[in-house]
Symmetry: C2
Subunit: 331 residues, 2 copies
């Protein structure tokens, strides 16, 4: 039987009273592409805004095979044991194709799933990165209103997803492994400069020596690059998600980061900038969509694009032509 | 006496027949912010489009004191001696303030200025980077139509100007010096990953040993980063713009780059993408300007921006509000 659509009142009360079933229902609403659901979701978010913003938002990325999921499992479980409420979300624009490559295999989060104060939500299947990002941002707000203290945001690193996750979080962690030789195998252009910390995972057993060398190597590279966050020096650390060694120290660093950026004002400034950037991005996209919704303009843009790509029409002239026609059509 | 405004016909014929005075007049037209001049400039560019795209476009940036100007002087003069026609342009969004910090001091380009086949144009004083970028792109097209074989595009690296220059050129050169210690002093976040080559300048006299060490260091860092151009490995080289040592070898590398990317199709693909990206950027900006030109919407955006920055209104809701109001006003 199809479930009855809950009202915004019911969902708001549910989230404010800590009802996980209703949180999950609210997230489903946020993830829906149906305009009616969207309207309800926006109304709900609007009401819950005063309760948001209170968690620490931590982004986590890494090369395939670095053990991101195990790292999240170990770190998240440790935080639960310390009394924190922890939510784990994911940004994976590919998951509609690969059918949930991320957080799909919940066996990798066994420790975390055993805790009552943990909440794990797989990546929404939204198609494009923009859609997935919107849904994840709004889910993050719902989780904050619900009362989670720490939100771990995982990304597989498809397309521009690291940049997107960076634009949602306070702290960004890059999980690496040793033995990748002289190359940053699998790590994309510019990702190192998005990180507030690099952790060399799997630093256990015979691997410790290699991990130590990798750590030194990353620290050397980092000394040539600019840290992502003003007033904070991005460094490399070692840890083992398996043995838990180095995980408490990593958390201490994240705590130190939080204190530092809260004291120098960078924390608050970044959050404001993130909100504004998101709004401007949405506005630009909406203005563009309104333009493209006009089939005449859409066709004209396609024709001119081809001519511009071939170097036949100067871009400025093409845009003048488009705007001129649109103003005329719009009257 | 005020000079008579030349017609598009006169300017077109002048550029096609190699008249430098008329090239300079056409560039002045492109640089003008007056709408009447802009209309003439766009008409001229439109007519000259078939003659554009035939030069090699080389971007050059570097830390202050690395000797960019001397490097351009030496490289440019050598190319003139080889029989190439060389134009030097600049992107410096700060020059309206600093009154021409770049290419202003022409004494640094003495060798180049002695060549008849060289053309040096200071950065337009356009205020914002967007304005300077538009003028430089269009000047570049005029220079290509005029018949320059190589266009050297210098940037001082203010704001996002390296990214802007990268979006205009085929090859991007980063000029560095040794002795900057363990830090990339003065070089901005992400700039290394825009480069197709790093040249350690001032590798002469007592400095050669230090330059060799710096070269090795940069090559080490580069091995951890992604090259900017598909199919090409970004590497560090040594040269001395003073003694000319290493400059012919640097030019050989640039030639090899050109052959490589022309053979694998990356050259043509990048040019197309650059044209299209520019057009879309202009279109987005034009749509945004049209929206902001409405004083009601402009005020509403400012109010909502403040609320969004404070975390009081969800960005999606703010944008829905804006678009809804605009559609109503527009009718």
């Amino acid at each position: 039987a199809k479930r009855r659509q809950l009202s915004v009142d019911e969902l708001e009360i549910g989230i404010r009273s800590g009802d996980r079933t209703l949180l999950a229902r609210a997230i489903t609403l946020v993830e829906s592409n149906a305009p009616a659901h969207q309207a309800l979701a926006q109304e709900l978010l609007d009401r819950l805004m005063p309760e948001t913003g209170k968690s620490l938002r931590v982004g986590i990325t890494g090369v395939p095979g670095a053990g991101k999921s195990t790292m999240i499992d170990t770190l998240g479980a440790m935080l639960c044991e310390k009394g924190f409420k922890v939510a784990v979300l994911a940004v994976d624009p590919s998951s509609s194709v690969t059918k949930g490559s991320i957080l799909g295999d919940k066996t990798r989060m066994e420790k975390l799933l055993g805790h009552k104060s943990a909440f794990v939500r797989p990546s929404p299947t939204g198609g494009c990165l923009g859609g997935v990002a919107r849904k994840t941002r709004e889910t993050l707000l719902l989780c904050e209103a619900f009362g989670f203290d720490v939100i771990l945001l995982e990304t597989v690193g498809v397309g521009q997803s690291e940049v997107t996750v960076r634009s949602m979080v306070d702290f960004f962690l890059l999980v690496m492994i040793s033995g990748a030789g002289d190359e940053l195998q699998g790590i994309k252009k510019g990702v190192i400069e998005l990180a507030d910390a690099i952790v060399v995972n799997k630093a256990d057993g015979d691997n410790v020596r290699k991990a130590r060398m990798a750590k030194a190597e990353y620290n050397r590279v980092l000394s040539f690059l600019h840290p992502c966050t003003e007033g904070w020096k991005t460094k490399a650390y070692m840890a083992s998600a398996l043995t838990k060694e180095g995980i408490p120290e990593l958390w201490e660093k994240i705590q130190l980061f939080k204190e530092t950026v809260q004291a120098n004002g960078v924390f608050e400034k970044r959050r404001q900038t993130q909100n504004l950037d998101w709004m401007h991005e949405l506005l630009n996209e909406a203005l563009r969509q309104r333009f493209l919704a006009n089939t005449v303009m859409h066709g004209r843009l396609q024709d001119l694009s081809a001519a511009v790509a071939r170097g036949e029409v100067p871009p400025v002239k093409a845009v003048e032509d488009l705007i001129e026609h649109w103003v005329r059509l719009d009257r």
